[in-house]
């Protein structure tokens, strides 16, 4: 039993990282209807921003803010320079924007690859929680615990912001209908920028979590996580904040338990298998009815 409980805790910890990543993607997918393949680069550039801050002697929390600003800035640049101009053109469909974001991702990855000389870089764990505490026969890592608590705080804060602030409500209105939002005097551009700022910052935060967990960062840090993030969003329900968290946790727990009791190979494909099943059985995702944006 304690072995199962330990693996369950491991799954929740992994799922928390997926959840933070999924939150940012869900927001942009829900608001702009844009499947953004450059999201992984916001994560990569963000964690390099955090590492830059740490290497220049900043306290970890401040360095994380630097990383989040890096991710947010990059996201806004991509939104302003690529996505919004493309959306303005009447003949450009969603698939063209997807292709454009793939191109942006390749450019951003190539740039950071050149800047880092293709090297794997150490990501120091100093200043981050380390070690573990025993609780009822289970070892709980302090870093995963911090990540889990942070993801819960972020989810609650984001949900409250969307529900109870003017900007949050405007964002939801734009997500529901851009035309209706404009009729009531809401500037959709502002909402787009805000969505990308939050998305980029959360990607950077998740990237920092991954860096602290893996002790390494590189130009390809975000590559492997992008498709898992998309899977988490689809499973939870596009545009749904609780759905993004649920999708992340379902994947994290599912991956860990599958690896522990079946095999790692099955675990690696679980995300995509679950995504297909959800699309077939419940295409709107597990929590689509509770979506905060477009439902």
């Amino acid at each position: 039993m304690s072995y199962f409980a330990q693996q369950l805790v491991n799954g929740i910890a992994l799922g928390s990282v997926f959840a933070v990543l999924a939150l940012g993607v869900s927001l942009v997918w829900g608001v702009l209807d844009v499947l953004n393949f450059s999201h992984a680069q916001f994560m990569t550039w963000g964690v390099f921003g955090t590492a830059f801050g740490i290497s220049h002697g900043l306290p970890v929390v401040v360095a994380i803010v630097v990383g989040m600003l890096t991710g947010a800035t990059l996201a806004v640049i991509v939104e302003e320079v690529v996505i919004t101009p493309l959306k303005r053109r009447a003949h450009v469909d969603a698939s063209s924007i997807v292709v454009a974001t793939i191109g942006v991702a390749i450019v951003l990855e190539t740039v950071i690859k050149k800047l880092t000389h293709s090297e794997l870089r150490s990501f120091t764990s100093e200043g981050f929680p380390s070690g573990s505490i025993p609780v009822a026969g289970i070892s709980i890592g302090l870093l995963p615990l911090a990540i889990f608590l942070t993801s819960v705080v972020v989810m609650v804060a984001l949900a409250l912001w969307l529900a109870r602030t003017r900007l949050g409500r405007e964002l939801r209105t734009v997500a529901y209908s851009r035309e209706r939002a404009e009729i009531v005097g809401i500037n959709p551009r502002t909402s787009y920028v805000i969505a990308f700022v939050i998305s980029g910052a959360l990607a950077a935060l998740a990237g920092t979590f991954v860096g602290a967990e893996t002790a390494l960062i590189s130009y390809s840090s975000g590559d492997g996580l992008l498709l898992i993030t998309f899977a988490a969003v689809v499973i939870g329900g596009m545009g749904s904040i609780p759905g993004a968290v649920l999708g992340g946790l379902v994947l994290g727990i599912g991956q860990v338990l599958t690896a522990a009791f079946i095999s790692q190979s099955v675990s690696d494909v679980l995300a995509f298998g679950l995504m297909v099943i959800v699309l077939l059985v419940r295409p709107t995702g597990l929590l689509r009815r509770q979506a905060v944006s477009r439902a």
Partner: protein, 389 residues
């Protein structure tokens, strides 16, 4: 067609043919019995995932450093080396295409490269069939030189090191049980794990857990939890570069405290910087502490030219090119068969691994050095060494 036009056409056609040929043809002779130019093909994985590119990129840097040094020093007289690097992107198919180009179209004089064993095993036979000497720089698997008598390797098969060192280490640790963690999506590391397991079981060390990890993972707690439950005396690692640091990081989170036997990937500042690597013992063939051969010079030169300390991958690349150049010089010819013979008879090569040559199996005659992570750096390990966490 008028006669003059016919001659011009032939001349142009001949020119195109000559220009299209690589290798030693176009530059003529350098006056020392050698051609003016020798082309070394370097198929390396320098893009794709960072865990592979971070190996291929320093290999390229090491090879280029050696080429520049050989050319500027006049080691081969007026003969100049040209390095033709092709990024094979960790793809067996690309490796085969690249070797086809190098052996048929470019007709390179020698090949110094290869980052991954599976890519070499797919493409290497093409060079053997073409009779072009190949020096592999960073292949840790077995079956490399078995491809043929034109194939040599700078980095020995890791199992040959484990065979000598693991019994000494495990006896010193007084281990009775062992757990293994390995990259299950790499046939090379899986084979190394199987080999080490067989060696240790032969010494009476019982296997209590075997856990595979894959490149897609960012979290190894699942596997570390299973290992913790098995409660081994020693944990043996055989994983891909880039996974060692993460494992070292997450061992403490798992609450796991056990003696650790690493692989060559632990000989990296990125890994040794992680506190979970403390006291890990591993065996390798290159280390900055080697004071013989060309290693002290290499350490200085690399730092001077590239403004950073070298890695073992750069050292292997550097030695690969120097081995080829030395063989050409010893042979007094770029003829592939003569270069091959010169490589095979090499005995006292001054390299970064120390002073060595090639054995009958065309692998380097180096026995490996045992190191232990202590205080964030690798220090020589002996059975009487002490280390505390």
């Amino acid at each position: 067609m008028p006669k003059a036009s016919w001659r011009v056409s032939v001349a142009i056609f001949a020119g195109i043919l000559l220009a299209g040929c690589g290798g030693s043809t176009p530059g003529g002779q350098a006056g020392n019995g050698l051609p003016a130019n020798l082309t070394i093909g370097a198929p390396l994985d320098i893009s794709g995932s960072a865990s592979v590119a971070s190996v291929g990129a320093p290999e390229q840097e090491g090879e280029q450093l050696a080429v520049d040094e050989i050319n500027s020093s006049g080691f081969l007289g007026k003969t100049k080396l040209t390095l033709k690097v092709v990024d094979t992107q960790a793809s067996k198919e690309l490796a085969v295409q690249t070797l086809t180009d190098m052996t048929v179209r470019d007709k390179v004089d020698g090949i110094v490269g290869f980052t991954l064993t599976p890519s070499f095993l797919a493409a290497g036979p093409l060079a053997q069939r073409a009779g072009i000497p190949v020096i592999t720089v960073d292949l840790s698997g077995t079956g490399i030189t078995e491809v043929g008598d034109y194939i040599f390797r700078v980095s020995p098969a890791l199992v040959t090191l484990f065979e000598r060192s693991d019994p000494i280490i495990v006896k010193a640790l007084k281990a009775k049980t062992a757990a293994y963690i390995y990259s299950s999506d790499s046939s090379n590391t899986a084979a190394q794990k199987d080999f080490r397991k067989k060696v240790l079981e032969g010494l009476g060390v019982a296997t209590v857990a075997e856990q595979g990890v894959t490149a897609a993972q960012i979290d190894y707690q699942t596997q570390l939890t299973a290992i913790k439950r098995a409660n081994p005396d020693v944990l043996v690692f055989d994983v891909l570069g880039g996974q060692d640091a993460t494992l070292a990081q997450q061992i403490k989170q798992a609450g796991l405290s056990v003696a650790q036997m690493g692989d060559v990937g632990w000989n990296s500042p990125n890994v040794m910087a992680v506190s979970g690597s403390q006291c890990t013992i591993f065996t390798t063939v290159w280390d900055p502490s080697i004071s013989t051969g060309r290693n002290p010079h290499f350490l200085t030169l690399y730092q001077q030219k590239l403004s950073k300390p070298p890695t073992q991958y750069a050292a292997w690349g550097y030695d690969g090119v120097w081995l080829y150049a030395t063989a050409v010089k010893n042979a007094g010819s770029a003829n592939p068969a003569k270069v091959r013979d010169a490589l095979a008879s090499m005995k006292d090569f001054q390299g970064t691994l120390g002073v060595y040559g090639f054995g009958p199996d065309r692998a380097p005659t180096v026995s490996g050095i045992n190191l232990q992570v202590n205080g964030g750096k690798a220090v020589p390990w002996t059975p009487t060494s002490t280390c505390s966490r």
